[in-house]
């Protein structure tokens, strides 16, 4: 079972796997760092810092496990991915957060997300999609606001309704 075994096809080190292992180790370090700032006030048993240390130890062990898997190339095969749609959806989520953060309201924020996601899935009719998105989000807003009496963030458009 050594890598020099001639019967085995040569396995490549999986770079993504190494990154995952490093991230897990980093997370474990953050946990330990955070736990050091906690003061143990309990007389008996565990204080609040015990569990983070336990979880951090587990993460550290798993980082080693993932590292070994990556070195051996034991990760399952991955299909090629297209980064553009993923990026578009993330832009949509970013727009949503920004519009809500700056008080643009629910309708505009949701419509922005709808149009970018739809574009990510290959549609190029931005005008039609914008109209659909606006109508849909206005209906959702009215349903939440009037029927369920749940308040959604308001912006210029919501105040007109």
């Amino acid at each position: 079972m050594t890598s020099g075994d001639p019967a085995q096809p040569p396995r490549r080190v999986d770079r993504a796997g190494i990154v995952i292992a490093a991230l897990l180790a980093g997370l474990a370090a953050v946990l330990v760092f955070d736990a050091r700032g906690l003061s143990s006030t309990t007389m008996y048993g565990m204080g609040p810092e015990a569990m983070p240390i336990v979880v951090a130890s587990g993460l550290a062990l798993l980082a080693i496990g993932n590292f070994i898997d990556a070195l051996r190339g034991n990760l399952p095969e991955r299909e090629s991915t297209d980064p553009v749609p993923v990026f578009l959806i993330l832009v949509g989520l970013g727009l949503l957060i920004a519009i809500i953060g700056f008080g643009g309201g629910f309708i505009l924020a949701t419509s922005a997300l709808f149009v970018t996601t739809s574009a990510a899935f290959g549609r190029r009719a931005i005008l039609v999609d914008s109209i659909i998105a606006l109508v849909m989000s206005i209906l959702i807003y009215l349903a939440f606001d009037r029927l369920l009496t749940l308040s959604l963030p308001t912006g210029p458009l919501e105040r007109l309704l």
């Binding site: 048993g45 993932n66 993330l90 989520l93 809500i100 997300l113 899935f121 369920l148 749940l150």
Partner: protein, 500 residues
Amino acid sequence: MMDTFAALAHGMAVAIQPMNLLYALIGVFLGTAVGVLPGIGPALTVALLLPVTYKLDPGGSLIMFAGIYYGGMYGGSTTAILINTPGESASMATALEGNKMAKAGRGGPALATSAIGSFVAGTIATIGLAFLAPWLVDFAVRFGPEDYFALMCVAFVTVSATFGDSPIRGLTSLFIGLTLGLVGIDKLTGQARLAFGVPELLDGVEVTTLAVGLFAVGEALYVASRRHHTEEKLEPVRGSLWMTKEDWKRSWKPWLRGTMFGFPIGALPAGGAEIPTFLSYSTEKRLTKYPDEFGKGAIEGVAGPEAANNASAAGTLVPLLTLGLPTSATAAMMLAGFQQYGLNPGPLLFAERPDLVWGLIASLFIANVMLLVLNLPLVGLWVRLLAIPQPWLYAGILVFATMGTIAAKPSVVELSMLSGFGVLGFLMRRFDFPIAPVVVGLILGPIAESQLRRALAISLGDPMTLLQSPISATLLGVALIALLAPFVLKGLGRFKANED
């Protein structure tokens, strides 16, 4: 025994009130409508619809939940049959034969056998739940905090390591969940952990934010990233919807066998409907009189796994209601639904709110009947939902997913967390890490910690208390075996491979 009947009758009286019937109906309808959308499994259905129930009273909302749960399951199998995209691993066996049947123009009988099989299995398993639950509650009353802690260790291990493809990746998912569970104010000492001075983090990570991010946003990102690979094809439902006499004859035994696999395995704190559905599939393949039809659309291969799937769904409610132990992502979402009202499932809930628990169990029966009556006639409507073009479908899913968070906590931090969990869900799908253990870790981690700390406080800090209680010692032994078994088995397999 008689107590169970009395309690169930009382629950029926609760469930049959007109308002509650209406809640169950809305739940079944919404659950099916959302569950039928491709890529949305029952867990996500429940997570997405949680905000809808915010304003209801606990009784009504839990009853609506029961409907959403079963409706989501049914919707998922419809998708599996008609477009071969099982929303979750438990519907994979159904998709295997069901989609072949649909391609051969027998989509109607496939949907029918899955609906009727789900009804039969769901009903039998709910009866099982009603009788098993009080018995388990009697047992669970004797559990001390150390026993609960040990039980959660069993659940952690079985959910993440024992039954997955890779114990290391499963445990990694679990520990990410446990880490997220640490965020916020420590309940015993009031100190903030992992909050980094962000006030929004002091309350901890919302289960719904995590679940919706991982499942909905993650799924949308993943499907978008590999859109160039697969072209999904919707099979139209052609021909008769109804099963022939022959179909009935070939279906009823697989339904019952599937139930026998599904309920007991679902009721164990082992997690997952995957094992019973595949056990059922392979059993039917072995027992069938038409072996050459398997792989080409054999009705037994739909009837059995579908029944097993539904029976195990009712089975997972046994540990959830009696012990507060979620063993699947869907059960974890149900627990989040309980927690939204400050209710903790477990022996106490049976004693304090019998109307609620038994009302819920009775509603499961009612939801089952409603599904049977609603779904076959409405199949045309569900199929039309399936035909929504992909760009609008996923845009709509994302709008719906973010809407829940916007309605509950419209803050930039919460929405950024939702997006962050979406990216995490995408990466986990891409690198083949299971998702459910993260959710289970987030929910159960804090509970396990508080039980352990309580146990140690009672024993004045002596960790031997974990081994002195026979229940706890046994459960910890089970957890250890379940943790080591996959590694040992893998080692044996490697040993054998070297011998050849």
